[in-house]
């Protein structure tokens, strides 16, 4: 049975993915693990690897097609399988990818739902079918598939993999190809327990950054969407960081520690979010949805733009763990080797431009998150202490909020709580 190439789910809430371009053409021989198609979601672009070795056939989604997650977009025929060795018939080779999908949507074709489904699975262009009644049914599609495979000796039509409904749902949710699973149910049917918990193919697919333009374009689209739909407001607070600076110097003078201010801020922000969960929310479909975990994203500049890897459950991490993960994420971000899981699930973002000498700035909220913290540099500034001017290290924190998910008072309370933690960090950091 040929192996399905499916549209993977790279993110929890992802419902569709877009085919950017095929790296292989129908009829090409592909090796297992070889990149065959580029898929784009609203967050990432990834290359999808061939789930099996064989001949790529029956490509039903062309560049630009948006396909539901879990849907088969092509088949790979293994050695010895019907269609593997056979010459590619003209109607397949000549058919442009996407032609079948487009035809399915054409309203003028009278075809039964089962016929449409089969046509989609087999990459049959329904417009090419002529029947006496003018209606296309299952038998017509199967007959066409048979005739197409005539050159092959025993061209059995591709059968739908046996699997329980629950297993199908879980496989789709986890982005696993059913055909890649060895089922333990009756007749080899795939059962729920057979579906791996992790999505191996989606996760293993090396997410390369194919071009400067893609990352940049995604950044541009997302920022435009945020700026034009999320009503922003900004809260600014100058905080005294003498204790923070002293603490970090001491910690780093001890062996091994290489803590950055960003690490410290991740820890403090996570604590502040735990104190004030109303800021750890997402704006989705007109509702304020609380985030179940405290996941702090870091805006990281890379050669071609901006990515936001996430420190998941940052409230449970020690400072050492935060530093290790941050180093790993930043280095992989810069190498273009972030995995989809690395950028998923962020609930709040920190953007720190202090190292570039910026005093203060206003960031754009990273949707669907409710707020983003813009961090300026630490500098000695003149402040009033007991009625006298004094010189102390301070830092300016600017909180950008989406007014649909937060109001001024909620934002101010959070920033106030965070400022207190930054100014008196010892209980948290010790």
């Amino acid at each position: 049975m040929p192996t399905s190439v499916i549209m993977p789910a790279l993110e929890l809430a992802q419902e569709t993915g877009k085919v950017l371009r095929w790296l292989k053409s129908p009829g090409d021989r592909v090796g297992k693990g070889e990149p065959i198609v580029e898929i784009e979601t609203d967050k990432v672009t990834v290359e999808i690897e061939a789930p099996a070795a064989g001949v790529l056939r029956d490509v039903v989604a062309g560049p630009g097609d948006v396909v539901p997650v879990g849907r088969t977009i092509a088949l790979i025929y293994g050695a010895g399988e019907a269609g593997a060795a056979a010459p590619v018939p003209d109607d397949v080779a000549g058919r442009r990818p996407g032609a079948a999908a487009a035809a399915v949507e054409a309203p003028s074709i009278k075809a039964s739902p089962l016929a449409r489904k089969l046509a989609e699975q087999h990459g049959v262009d329904l417009t090419q079918l002529r029947t006496a009644s003018g209606r296309i049914e299952k038998a017509d599609v199967l007959a066409h598939v048979e005739s197409r495979k005539a050159p092959a000796a025993n061209g059995a039509p591709a059968r739908i993999a046996a699997a329980s409904p629950k297993a199908r749902r879980l496989a789709a949710e986890r982005g696993v190809a059913l055909s890649a699973i060895r089922g333990t149910g009756p007749g080899g049917a795939v059962l729920a327990a057979d579906v791996p918990v992790e999505a191996p193919r989606a996760a293993e697919a090396a997410p390369t950054v194919p071009g400067v333009s893609t990352v940049w374009r995604i950044m541009a689209e997302r920022m435009t969407a945020s700026w034009t739909t999320a009503p922003h407001f900004y809260l600014v607070r100058e905080v005294h960081v003498a204790r923070l600076v002293t603490w970090r110097e001491r910690a780093n003078s001890r062996a091994g520690a290489r803590l950055t201010y960003t690490d410290l801020l991740v820890r403090l922000v996570a604590a502040a979010l735990a104190q004030d969960p109303r800021v750890n929310v997402s704006w989705r479909d007109g509702r304020i949805v609380p985030n179940t975990e405290i996941n702090v994203g870091l805006a990281v500049a890379i050669e071609d733009g901006l990515v936001v890897p996430v420190l998941h459950r940052a409230d449970t991490l020690s400072l050492t763990e935060i530093a290790e993960r941050r180093e790993d994420l930043v280095s992989r971000a810069q190498a273009g080797r972030l995995r989809p899981a690395d950028i998923q699930g962020g609930g709040f973002t920190i953007s720190n431009l202090g190292m570039h000498g910026i005093d203060a700035f206003s960031a754009i909220v990273n949707p669907p998150q409710a707020a983003i913290l813009a961090v300026g540099r630490i500098a000695d500034r003149v402040v009033a202490v007991n009625g006298q001017p004094a010189v102390q290290p301070t830092m300016v924190l600017t909180l950008s909020c989406d007014h649909r998910a937060l109001d001024g008072a909620r934002g101010a309370r959070f920033l106030g709580g965070l400022a207190d933690l930054v100014e008196e960090p010892l209980t948290l950091l010790a």
């Binding site: 329980s164 409904p165 629950k166 297993a167 199908r168 749902r169 059962l191 327990a193």
Partner: protein, 329 residues
């Protein structure tokens, strides 16, 4: 104080007596319901307390007295019509289906038919093919009728009292093999709402939806399954109409597997309806096909050996559950 126990039959009688004391419009009519106290002896003593005006013996004419009951209900009484064997509802069908079930709707709500048809189901009493069927699917099919299937003494009293107080026609099927079964029954007044399934036993791996006589069978199978590490949840819908669809679906969403067990004929039966409700409602949570186990599709044989084979057994439910859960021997 130990919980008071009654037999299933005593629970039925107590419910009827309490309702007759509570409401003078309630009366009982049927064959051998008065002096004989019913062939199953479930009504002994009622005629002594309430007299022959309220406990009425009739000639052997089910269509006749069913019609009397429907007419009495239309004109303000609350009759309990006794149909001795469930098999005899073939004779009362016009009164049940075309009169009782329809009058409220066809009169634009002006007429109510608060009637209770009390009858039986269940095989293995050696009563042969015309006295052993479980025909509750027939009336469950009819809009306008409610159908209750008490699975024990507690349910027998509570569902009967709900039925008497309901303004719609209700058909209650009592399992004739369960009349001597004892169980705790509160002495006080209580009712069991229609359309609420009861989880008789919580479980994790498979849901056994069981009705009436089959609840005990399912519980027995669940105990056997426990020993091989399969945790079965037993759910009793208690009424086939109204049917607690969300309750059943929720259970299967939790367990991913389901067997529906009912003593009616398997084909076109109660099991088919419930299985399709579950297949539709819990489809994306199912890890195995929904399995039906009903009575064998044959006229119930008189031979005891053969008769016993036609009824779902603990062993049959156990084996089916084991197979659905993928347990090999």
């Amino acid at each position: 104080m130990a919980e008071r126990e009654l037999t299933y039959g005593e629970a039925v009688k107590e419910a009827i007596a309490e309702e007759m004391r509570r409401d003078p419009r309630v009366f009982l009519i049927g064959e051998d319901v008065a002096e004989a106290g019913h062939p199953f002896k479930t009504l002994l003593g009622l005629v002594q307390e309430f007299g022959t005006e309220r406990v009425i013996d009739t000639p052997i004419s089910e269509p006749g007295y069913a019609g009397i009951g429907v007419g009495a209900a239309m004109t303000g009484m609350r009759p309990i019509v006794d149909v001795m064997f469930g098999d005899f509802i073939t004779l009362t069908m016009d009164q049940m289906v075309n009169q009782a079930a329809k009058a409220h709707y066809m009169s634009g709500g002006k007429i109510k038919v608060p009637i209770v048809f009390r009858t039986t189901l269940g095989a293995t009493r050696r009563s042969a093919a015309q006295h052993s069927q479980s025909l509750h699917a027939w009336v469950s099919h009819i809009p306008g009728l409610k159908v209750a299937l008490p699975s024990g003494p507690y349910e027998a009293k509570g569902l009967m009292k709900t039925a008497v107080r309901d303004d719609s026609p209700v058909v209650i099927f009592e399992d004739k093999m369960m009349y001597r079964v004892k169980g705790p029954v509160p002495a006080e007044d209580y009712t069991i709402p229609f359309g609420i399934a009861e989880v008789k036993r919580p479980g994790r791996d498979i849901t056994l939806v069981a009705t009436s006589s089959m609840v005990a069978v399912a519980l027995g199978a669940a105990t056997m399954l426990d020993e091989i590490g399969i945790s079965a949840e037993v759910v009793d819908p208690r009424t086939t109409w109204p049917l607690d669809k969300p309750g059943l679906i929720d259970s299967v969403k939790k367990t991913s597997r389901c067997i529906v067990v009912d003593e009616g004929y398997e084909r076109y039966g109660v099991t088919a309806e419930i299985a399709s409700v579950i297949a539709e409602g819990a489809f994306y949570h199912l890890d195995a096909p929904v399995k039906r186990i009903g009575a064998m599709d044959v006229p119930v044989p008189f031979s005891p050996v053969l008769e016993d084979l036609t009824v779902p057994s603990e062993k049959a439910v156990f084996e089916a559950a084991k197979a659905l859960c993928g347990k090999k021997d």
